[in-house]
Amino acid sequence: MNSERKKKKPRVAVFKFASCDGCQLSLLDAEDELLAVAGAVEIAYFPEASRAMLKGPYDIALVEGSITTHPDAERIQQVRRQARTLVTIGACATAGGIQALRNWKDVAEFIRVVYPSPQFISTLKLSTPIAEHVPVDFELRGCPINHYQLIELIAATLAGRKPNIPAYSVCLECKRRGNVCVPVAHGTPCLGPVTQAGCGAICPAYDRGCYGCYGPMESPNTASLTSQFRILGQSGQEISRAFRSFNAWAWQFRKASEECERT
C-alpha cells in the first residue's frame, strides 16, 4: 500500500471560470515541456485538452477565471474541497479580470447592451477574484500568465518549496533587458513602476508603455506615478482608465483609479 502510494503521480486539475482560456492555453503553449510535464504528473482533469475527466481529490488545482455567476460561486467551493493546493492562474482569477469593469456599472444595463433577451441571462453584480471566495495557496499573475512561471510553480509545489516568482516591479526586468525607459526618453505614460514583473518587460521593448497586465507589484506607489502621469499631460480620466484594465479590481489599482476619476 505504502510503496503503491509512492509510485502514484501527483494529480493536476485545471478549472475554468469567467475567462478567455488564454492562461490554461499557456500550459499547451509550453510545447517543449508539455510531454515532460505530462510524464511527471497525472493530468486528471483538463477539459480543454482531454475527454478523460477524473474525479478528485487533486494535488494541485489550477484555477483560471473570475467568479461572476451563482453556480460558479458554488462550484469554486467544490473545487477547493477537492484540492490539496489551489493556485489561481492569471488576472481574472487573481483580480477579477477585465470583466470586473462591470463592478463600477449597473450590470443590468450591461446585459441589455449585449443580449437582445436579457431575461435569459443570470449573472452576479460583481466579477470577483477566487480569493474572495475560498483560501488560495498561490496567485500566479499576468494577463496572460508566463508559462515558465507556471512550470516553475508546478515544480516548486511538487517539491514542497517556495516558487521563485518575484514580486518586484517591471522596471527591474526592463533594466535587465536593456530597454530604453519610455517615460523618461519618450514621455510615454508607463505603468511599469507599479506593476509586478513576470512578462519580461515586453511593452517597453516594443516602444510602448506598460499597461499593467501583471497587476500591482508588492508596494506600488500609485500616488507618485499618478502625479508623473499628470506631468506628462494625462487627464484624471485618462489615468483612471489606465489603472482600469485587466487588474482593475486589484485594490491598489482600484483605489488609484477612483482617486483620479474624481479629479
Binding site: 510531454l35 477539459p47 480543454e48
Partner: protein, 431 residues
C-alpha cells in the same frame, strides 16, 4: 430500438475552447431535440468598451479569446482605421498578414493535432495519443511552436501580444529579424504537407450537408484582413453592410447569440467556407496537396474540415515564408490618427471564421457603441443542425460511441466558446 427513448448527454464538452454542454434526445432512431448549451459566463465586452479610447480597444478585445487574440486585434484595428479614415502602409499590411499566419499556424496545429486527431485515432487526448504516436504529436507541437514563434517575434508574446496599434504596429521588426524565421518556416511547410497526408488517411463518416458557406474573398489573395464578404448563395457585400444581412438571435438555452442570414437561416464560416470560396487563390503547393488528399471544392462533409485545416496550414506556412522574404520595413511603424467622430466596421478571417466588429466613436475618439460577432456564434446554429442530422445516423449505436461521435461532430467546427459568449453543453437524451 423501436420507440425507446435515449439521451446523449455531455456535461462538459472536452477539447474545445471554453465551456459548453450537449443534449440530444432520441426517440428510436428519430432525433427529437438538440441543445448545444453554453454555460460559459457572459463577460459584457461590448458594454464596457463604451467610454474607452479607440487606442485601447485592440488590447481589451484580445481578452475575449486567448486562442485567437490576433483575430480580435485585427478586426478591431481595421474597424478603428475605417472610423478614423486612415490608411495603413503596404509594409504594415504585409506584416499583419504574417502576424495572422502565425496565429493560424498555432491555432490550426493545436486543433488538428491536440484537439481533433485524438477523435479519429481513438484517444481521450493528445497526451495519451503520444504514448503510441509520439512522433506525430511532436510534429504537431513543433508546428504549433513555429506559429507561436512568429507571433512572439512580431508581438512580444504568444497570447495577447502587445505590438498591434491603430495605424500599424508600435514597433516593426528589422528585416534581419524576420529572416531568422526562414529555416523554421521551410521545415513547417514540409511538416504541414505531411499533416495533410496524415489526416487525409483518417476515416470519415459519410455525411454531407447543403451549407451556405460565408467567407471573405479577395481578388488576388487567400483572405485574412481584406475582401468582400461572399457566399455560395449570391451574397457579395462590404463589411459595412454586414448588419443588413445578418441578425443575431438570443436563445434561452445558451449564453451565446445565434447568428442567421436574414431570410435564409444558418450558415457556415471557417476553413470549409474559405476553402470552397477561395480555392483558386491558394498557393499551388496547397492546391496540389488538397487534390492529392482527394479534396475538391465544394467540400460538404464537415468531418473533412480537419483536412482542410491542414491545407490551410500549408497555405499559412507558404504565405509566412513569402512575407519573410519580401518584407521591407515601413518608413514609420504606424500612421498617425487624429480623433474624430465616425463609425467603422471590419471583418477579418479568424482561424474559426469571420469575425465582425463595428465601433462608433465620438469627437474625442471615445467609443460610443461597440458590436462584436465572433465566428462560433455564427456557426452555432449550423452545429446544432449538423447534430440533428448526424445524431439520426448514429442513433442505433451504443450510447458511449454515439456520444463520442457527436462530440467529434462539434469539434469539426473548432468551436471557441469563450468567444461566443459574449456559447456550449452536449447532452444526447433518449427519452
Amino acid at each position: 430500438m423501436n420507440g425507446r427513448t435515449r439521451t446523449i448527454r455531455v456535461e462538459t464538452l472536452a477539447r474545445v475552447e471554453g465551456e459548453g454542454a450537449l443534449t440530444i434526445k432520441l426517440t428510436g432512431d428519430r432525433v427529437t431535440d438538440v441543445k448545444l448549451r453554453i454555460f460559459e459566463p457572459p463577460r459584457f465586452f461590448e458594454a464596457f468598451l463604451k467610454g474607452r479610447h479607440y487606442s485601447e480597444a485592440a488590447d481589451i478585445v484580445a481578452r475575449i479569446c486567448g486562442i485567437c487574440p490576433i483575430a480580435y486585434q485585427m478586426s478591431a484595428l481595421h474597424a478603428m482605421e475605417r472610423a478614423l479614415g486612415i490608411r495603413i502602409d503596404p509594409a504594415v499590411r504585409l506584416l499583419r498578414r504574417l502576424f495572422y499566419c502565425g496565429e493560424w499556424i498555432e491555432s490550426h496545429a493545436l486543433h488538428v493535432y491536440m484537439l481533433h486527431a485524438p477523435d479519429f485515432l481513438g484517444y481521450q487526448d493528445a497526451i495519451q495519443m503520444a504514448r503510441d504516436h509520439r512522433a506525430v504529436v511532436e510534429q504537431g507541437l513543433r508546428l504549433k511552436k513555429i506559429g507561436n514563434r512568429v507571433v512572439r517575434l512580431l508581438g512580444g508574446r504568444e497570447i495577447h501580444p502587445v505590438s498591434a496599434a491603430v495605424g500599424g504596429f508600435y514597433k516593426t521588426p528589422a528585416k534581419s529579424a524576420l529572416r531568422e524565421l526562414e529555416e523554421d518556416l521551410q521545415w513547417a511547410i514540409e511538416a504541414s504537407l505531411a499533416t495533410v497526408k496524415l489526416v487525409a488517411g483518417f476515416e470519415f463518416p459519410d455525411f454531407e450537408q447543403d451549407y451556405e458557406f460565408v467567407a471573405l474573398s479577395h481578388p488576388e489573395e487567400y483572405p485574412f484582413n481584406e475582401g468582400r464578404l461572399v457566399s455560395n448563395r449570391g451574397l457579395n457585400i462590404d463589411a459595412a453592410e454586414y448588419e443588413d444581412h445578418f441578425v443575431e438571435q438570443h436563445v434561452k438555452h445558451s449564453n451565446a447569440l445565434h447568428s442567421v442570414v436574414r431570410g435564409r437561416g444558418s450558415y457556415l464560416v471557417g476553413p470549409l467556407a474559405r476553402f470552397n470560396l477561395n480555392f483558386d487563390r491558394l498557393p499551388a503547393l496547397a492546391r496540389e496537396a488538397a487534390q492529392a488528399a482527394g479534396l475538391a471544392p465544394p467540400v460538404k462533409n464537415p468531418f473533412r474540415s480537419i483536412v482542410v485545416r491542414a491545407v490551410e496550414l500549408v497555405f499559412a506556412c507558404v504565405e509566412a515564408l513569402r512575407v519573410v522574404r519580401e518584407y521591407e520595413p515601413p518608413p514609420k511603424p504606424y500612421t498617425e490618427a487624429a480623433p474624430r467622430s465616425g463609425v467603422g466596421q471590419a471583418i477579418t478571417e479568424a482561424p474559426r471564421g469571420i469575425l465582425y466588429h463595428r465601433y462608433a466613436l465620438d469627437e474625442n475618439g471615445l467609443i460610443v457603441t461597440a458590436r462584436i460577432v465572433p465566428p462560433t456564434s455564427q456557426n452555432q446554429k449550423r452545429i446544432e443542425e449538423d447534430l440533428r442530422e448526424f445524431a439520426a445516423q448514429v442513433a442505433a449505436w451504443p450510447l458511449e460511441e454515439a456520444t463520442w461521435k457527436c462530440e467529434q461532430a462539434i469539434r469539426n467546427y473548432d468551436p471557441c466558446i469563450s468567444c461566443a459568449t459574449h456559447f456550449l453543453r452536449v447532452n444526447v437524451e433518449r427519452e
